[in-house]
Amino acid sequence: MEIYRSHVLVCAGTGCTSSDSLEVRDELNKELNRLNLDKEVKVVEVGCFGFCNLGPNIVIYPEGTFYCRVKPQDVKELVEEHLLKGRIVNRLLYNEPETEVKVKDFDNIEFFSHQKRVALRNCGLINPEKIEEYIAHEGYFALAKALKEMTREEVIEVVKKSGLRGRGGGGFPTGLKWQFAYNTPGEVKYVVCNADEGDPGAFMDRSILEGDPHSVIEAMAIAGYAIGAQQGYIYVRAEYPIAVQRLGIAINQAREYGLLGKNILGTDFNFDLDIRLGAGAFVCGEETALLTSIEGHRGEPRPRPPFPAVEGLWKKPTLINNVETYANIPAIILKGPEWFSSIGTEKSKGTKVFALAGKINNTGLIEVPMGTTLRTIIYEIGGGIPHGKKFKAAQTGGPSGGCIPAHLIDTEIDYDNLIALGSMMGSGGLIVMDETDCMVDIAKFFLEFTQEESCGKCPPCRIGTKRMLEILERITEGKGTPEDLENLEVLANTIKNASLCGLGQTAPNPVLNTLKYFRDEYEAHIFDKKCPAGVCQALLTYVIIAEKCKGCGLCARVCPTAAISGKPKEPYVIDPEKCIKCGTCIEKCKFGSIEKK
């Protein structure tokens, strides 16, 4: 085996590859060859570091130096300076946003130093397309331990004792699910992985599948052993081509190594996996709809009970967990349930991966212990809000969740606290909003989403969300009436109570939750016909600030409706009757003298 003095880890996740990380990799190999360093330094493609906004990301070991936004043209300098002469290339280091301090060590960057990686343990560390690298990091050790040293009942007991709860949104205790599927008698059972990550703003499942696909495969095999299944399916979104491709490679490698297939590790346990592609229906993230979709039908949900553990795929007992849930399993089996349950809060054990996005300096993927406060996530890991704007709310739980307002920023994030605030964990999207985001508009955005994605099977969801959306549209257009708020609440509660599946039951949450914390904004839209955040076009008026206007007349020339008039070198004025609020004048004005009010 070749020994290398340095390893250069290049992120090959979706974020970094679209920032040209593969060109950087090629350039690295070329430069190393040119300088005859290719026997000393090895370039490794790894999964996501989580710091997508700064991609392409590179880490050089053994020093652990983190370089970001590395372009192909930077590579020559990087190789000559760092790898040949041993000098750090300062200009490519990471800048802490608040302090402007350059940090060279991976572990000292605030974005990483507050994290604890369990589900993402191998992401950004190993090459996901090489099973050997996974095995070298204790990969498939947990499967071996389960098959050789533990009974099926013991495996289930460990998962139960760990306190692991479903990471897909609902937070149901994973061990119990396993127990139910084990308890149901049946010759044929199935293990299914829900990788239909549909919540907008969440991409942890994608990163795990792209960065560490074997962890999911290993966990599914362990689950198969525990409940008595021989076949598994991974239902993954077709929108994730890199994840699908790497999963396929990983499954084939596992088969070659005898880690999937017949008589795994010399035991009498047989287990194999297949991939099924989603086709762009959000409702298929709901477990019964997902199973119907695997069966090849329209992905419509069906009433529960019977739960999938009793009657699932092709009416056989089926265990269905989400990607992140599975990714935790091998670590729990190896390190023990006590280790896992020592992390987190009383009722939410372990860590949670969040996709940090929106109006925040450090966007990307983070994994923190349950119970970490929103303040830590936003200001320490996330580096605060850009452009000196004020933090307004953090949205969690996607279209099923809600917004946590600024005054609750010290909330410890776990399943139960979020539910108590009228939001939910969901799959872990965390979208930060600042003072320029209108909460009525955000509620409308989510209703548009659920209304469009409603499968149409049950009327409360199909018709109810449509009616709610119409009211919200009226309000944002300045046509809201005082009764609208009450009607919204009545509709919301009916839809919650009467819908068939999780999509409908949670669809009104974004409205109820914003009504609770931002009712004044709704009232401003309805009574004052104003949008305080300056978002809802119909409620804005464009005005020229006379003191700032130089009278150049550019705005008048570009106005499509000739609503602006005036004399050269004197302040111009906008006729609100003619103005269609297209915003062209604001874009063109060089003096910043036009404002939306």
Binding site: T14, G15, T17, S18, S19, F51, C52, N53, G55, E197, G198, D199, P200, G201, A202, F203, R206, A238, E239, Y240, P241, R276, L277, G278, A279, G280, A281, F282, S293, I294, E295, G296, H297, R298, G299, E300, W314, A355, A357, G358, K359, T363, G364, L365, Q395, G398, G429, I431, M433, D437, I442, F445, F446, F449, E453, C455
Partner: protein, 172 residues
């Protein structure tokens, strides 16, 4: 339902139907075969016209109504021809708060089509989609499988030009 499609000249002349035969053969005996067959058929035909749906229904021995039901349920299956480049603007939450709505508006203007429309030259189809999972780069769009991130609306014209130029190069 009886149908004479198999004997019509269209299917026998078009070599793509031979490929479709192979696809159907590969999945025919699996449970839940319809969805993977539709995925692969769309890769071959670009979209799923009625003739293809009928052919699949017969090949898999499922009712045409079922095939049509599945095709129209999922947004990734298309019954209309699409442009060579499908532009998918992410309208997920992270991209939305970072201005993907403006990018969509600009694209509509630039291409002269509405959402779901295809340009007259058959080059571009404009679509909106739910989260692409590249939120760290918001706002993003994909053109076929290529992800373009950290965009502003002013990047739109040059992006469109880039693909037009690519096309002209490949023609010449």
């Amino acid at each position: 339902m009886s149908c004479n499609c198999k004997s019509s000249t269209l299917e026998t002349k078009d070599p793509r139907f031979q490929q479709l035969d192979e696809i159907i053969e590969k999945y025919k005996d699996q449970s839940g075969a319809l969805s993977p067959v539709l995925h692969e058929a769309q890769n071959v035909f670009v979209y799923l016209p009625e003739s293809v749906q009928i052919y699949i229904a017969e090949g898999l021995n499922v009712p045409l109504s079922e095939v049509y039901g599945v095709v129209t349920f999922y947004s990734l299956f298309s019954t209309e021809p699409r442009g060579k480049y499908v532009i998918n603007v992410c309208l997920g939450t992270a991209c939305y708060v970072k201005g993907s709505g403006k990018i969509m508006e600009r694209l509509k203007k630039e291409l002269g089509v509405e959402i779901g429309g295809t340009t007259e030259d058959g080059l571009f189809t404009l679509k909106g989609c739910r989260c692409l999972g590249a939120c760290g780069l918001a706002p993003v769009l994909t053109i076929n499988e290529q992800v373009h991130g950290r965009l502003t609306e002013d990047d739109v014209p040059s992006l469109v030009r880039l693909y037009r130029a690519k096309e002209e190069q490949s023609v010449n």
